[in-house]
């Protein structure tokens, strides 16, 4: 009989996987931090690498609220630059939860929900965008409208969309790898 409610065991599992999720993001960011071009495609790389973590977590804890807990914890740590990141990540978690509930935690469903959740790695970049608004406002006061326009043009908005696109692609690839890895390693070892 399958228990639908989260037990203490599941909550501990959630905490452990959240650490893994956050630690991998930290390692990636510090490895790629020195190379700016690589850093800017971080959502793609992170999406691929975190895929197995996400899929294994959900096949261990296929219950209502599991993704939400992951999103709250990961969002909390990623919110080091702005609390809005937490709101963004939790919103993604809610969407992922809806997809999972609709698809009844099938492999297909986990993969689709991960495509959404992979956008969470975009969070830290998003806070740059929030800061930009306030910054441009004060730029007008300091240097005048002309200068503010120049800065506006130098930091194009569409780049954010490109990054989200990259995160989606990363989510697709990562989900595929995760499901494959589950079948290849973890089911055999009896831990998936």
């Amino acid at each position: 009989m399958k228990d639908k409610k989260l037990q203490t065991k599941d909550l501990i599992m959630a905490g452990v996987f959240a650490v893994l999720y956050v630690a991998l993001i930290c390692i990636l960011a510090s490895l790629t931090g020195m190379l700016i071009p690589v850093y800017l495609v971080l959502p793609l790389i992170a999406g691929v690498i975190l895929g197995p973590v996400y899929t294994l977590y959900l096949s261990k804890v296929p219950k209502m609220g599991a993704v939400l807990i992951l999103s709250v914890l990961a969002g909390f740590v990623m919110s080091a630059s702005s609390i809005m990141v937490l709101v963004y990540v939790v919103a993604l978690g809610i969407i992922a939860q809806v997809i999972l509930s609709k698809t009844n935690y099938s492999e297909q469903g986990i993969r689709w929900s991960y495509i959404v959740f992979a956008c969470a790695t975009e969070g830290p970049f998003l806070s740059l965008f929030f800061a930009r608004e306030g910054f441009l406002n004060t730029c007008v006061q300091y240097y005048g409208q002309e200068y503010a326009d120049k800065i506006d043009a130098a930091t194009p908005m569409w780049f954010l969309l490109v990054q989200i696109g990259l995160a989606l692609i990363g989510g697709y690839i990562g989900g595929r790898i995760g499901v494959a890895m589950n079948a290849k390693h973890f089911k055999k070892a009896g831990i998936a």
């Binding site: 065991k9 905490g15 630690a23």
Partner: protein, 239 residues
């Protein structure tokens, strides 16, 4: 690197965890709305004082140096004639300066609060178990993951397959698989053991839990909440 996420020392004057949380939230709104140097410096000074209060001397000094250098660059842009392109690049540094107070508020929250204090505060705010248990597990677990990571790298080195640039470029897939598979399976095993241990200690029992540490709002907390609310109001009246 993972020590960053842990409690590091007792403060001179204790501040309630809830106050720290509020300061972080307000600060992250203020700092990103308002980038005038006077206002940013005010935020910086408040955070600096709080970090010193929490005995985070080294961290606070590091931040002071970073902030000083960034302000110096700012003056350079204002008063020295530079090519337009360089100027544009240097102005970008101001954006990163805006994040410093927020980062410091976050460090204040993480480094000067014990996990059990956090939990006691969460319980007082009636947070559900679904958040408090994973939260406490998370903070206990950062060092463990660091250890596992080192052990896996050692094991890979034994077999002549290290994390270096050559392997990263020629066999990235294999490198990734050889790291993530043991990392994930170890994690699952450790989680199972941890949950067995904590069930023995009565976690997840239906009755309420008691706590050794007291969290209480004092005069200092009221004063700090007042200051941060004042700073928020100033940032809203700026335009």
């Amino acid at each position: 690197m993972f020590n960053e996420f842990s409690f590091q020392g007792e403060a001179f004057f204790k501040i309630d965890p809830r106050t720290k949380l509020l300061i972080f939230i307000l600060c992250s709104f203020d700092a990103l709305r308002e980038s005038r140097t006077v206002y940013q410096s005010m935020l910086f000074i408040v955070m600096f004082a709080l970090l010193i209060n929490g005995r985070q001397f080294a961290y606070a000094m590091k931040m002071l140096v970073v902030y000083g250098v960034m302000c110096g660059i700012d003056l350079l842009v204002l008063y020295v004639a530079l090519p337009e392109g360089v100027k544009l690049l240097l102005v970008g540094i101001r954006v990163f300066r805006m994040f410093l107070p927020v980062l410091m508020a976050f460090a204040l929250m993480i480094k000067t609060t014990k996990v059990s204090e956090f939990l006691a505060a969460f319980e007082k705010m009636h947070f559900p178990e679904e958040i408090t248990i994973p939260f406490s597990v998370m903070f206990r677990f950062f060092p463990t993951i660091g250890e596992e990571w080192d052990n896996i790298r050692n094991a890979m080195r034994f077999r002549g397959f290290d994390w270096n640039l050559k392997n990263l470029l020629t066999r990235p897939g294999l490198l990734f698989e050889c790291t993530i598979v043991p990392l994930l399976s170890n994690t699952v095993v450790i989680a199972d053991e941890l949950s067995a241990a904590s069930l023995c200690r009565g976690l997840g029992a239906k009755t309420g839990r008691s706590s050794m540490c007291e969290v209480r709002m004092g005069i200092l907390d009221v004063a700090l909440i007042g200051i941060s609310l004042y700073l928020t109001i100033v940032s809203f009246s700026a335009y």
